[in-house]
Amino acid sequence: MKPLTITVASGKGGVGKTMVATNLALSAPEHVPTQLVDCDVDEPDAHLFLRPTIIEAKNVEIPVPVVDQALCNGCGSCADFCAFNAISAVGSTALVFPDLCHGCGGCKEICPTGAISEAPNKIGTIEWGLVDLGRPIDFVQGRLDVGSSLSARVIKSTRRIAQDRLLDAAAVRIIDAPPGTSCPVVASVSDSDYSILVAESTPFGLHDLSLVIELVRELNVPFGVVINRDGIGDDRAAAHCRKEQIPILARIPFQRRYADAYAGGILLVDRFSEVARVFHDLWERLLREVER
């Protein structure tokens, strides 16, 4: 069994993904078990607003090659095979660059002298625990190590742990995705039941929204748009949604006091009753959309 999984994504960064994800988690219908999964592993920040108590952590590791210099004859088959230049055969034996390795294990398979074995290399951490802000929220976040580029790998592991922690089909899982439209976003949005695309109505905002719309369509995930900072820019994001028959799920107006509160780590639904209403209506709309 699998909870209802809603992924909050955006093409452009800084448009309010984490704001929408965290406030959405806190305003989920009462008695519905809720989980927030922060998959923005390059710099997870949902914890700043939800302030979870972390109870456990686990390393994310990939297998990287270790060369037995006595067996290696420097033939270079491994270097020719590696698509990431993580193993090089410039000297008398192969040289490994663990931080470039994607852990595919191909070099080990291809080595004619059996000189390559594997050892784990840490690329990130997954932490989990509980949020208690009036209602309990299960919390899981992934964090990529500085210097590693394997965001998608950490995201997949984070989602597996999130899945193991919450199996209830009556529950909701909210995933805070990274920005953009590359592999880490695909890893976050894939297999979701629904995706909320957060957008702002500016030229860049619309450009990047169009890209992420293409992506979720490709992944066959139903989606709708939340326009954040409504009132800045113009009407181009809404016009685009109308033209493409994409539902606009909610509009959150631009207010300086919202920005002030957010910068202080405050959840907007806690502070502003009109925002709480927006999120209440967003949930009703979401549940209708998901049923369709």
Partner: protein, 113 residues
Amino acid sequence: MPLIAVTAQGQEPSALFDTRFGRCSYFVIFDTSTDTFRALPNPAQSEAGGAGPRAVQFLKQNNVGIVVTGHVGPHAQTALQAAGIELFEVGPSPSGTSVREMLSSYIDGERER
């Protein structure tokens, strides 16, 4: 003297020096014993990652013994050491410096040593 590779933006000794190592456009390779050169496009230029080590491997395959460039990263540095290729790192060079000028300044520097 071993073959000397200079990172270059073009295929001639008169071309501009390229301060990048792994992602330079060409290596202009000089054989000072015969006073000849040849230019080879850098196969690592548009690698997604690990361009430095890939470029080192290419230079090694072409029997280069000395490389003159602006700056190399940590991966390339390790690979150059393993390959036994001598590195002459000039840092950010004044714009408009040619490959030939860089080669000369390396050779002059060696003479003074």
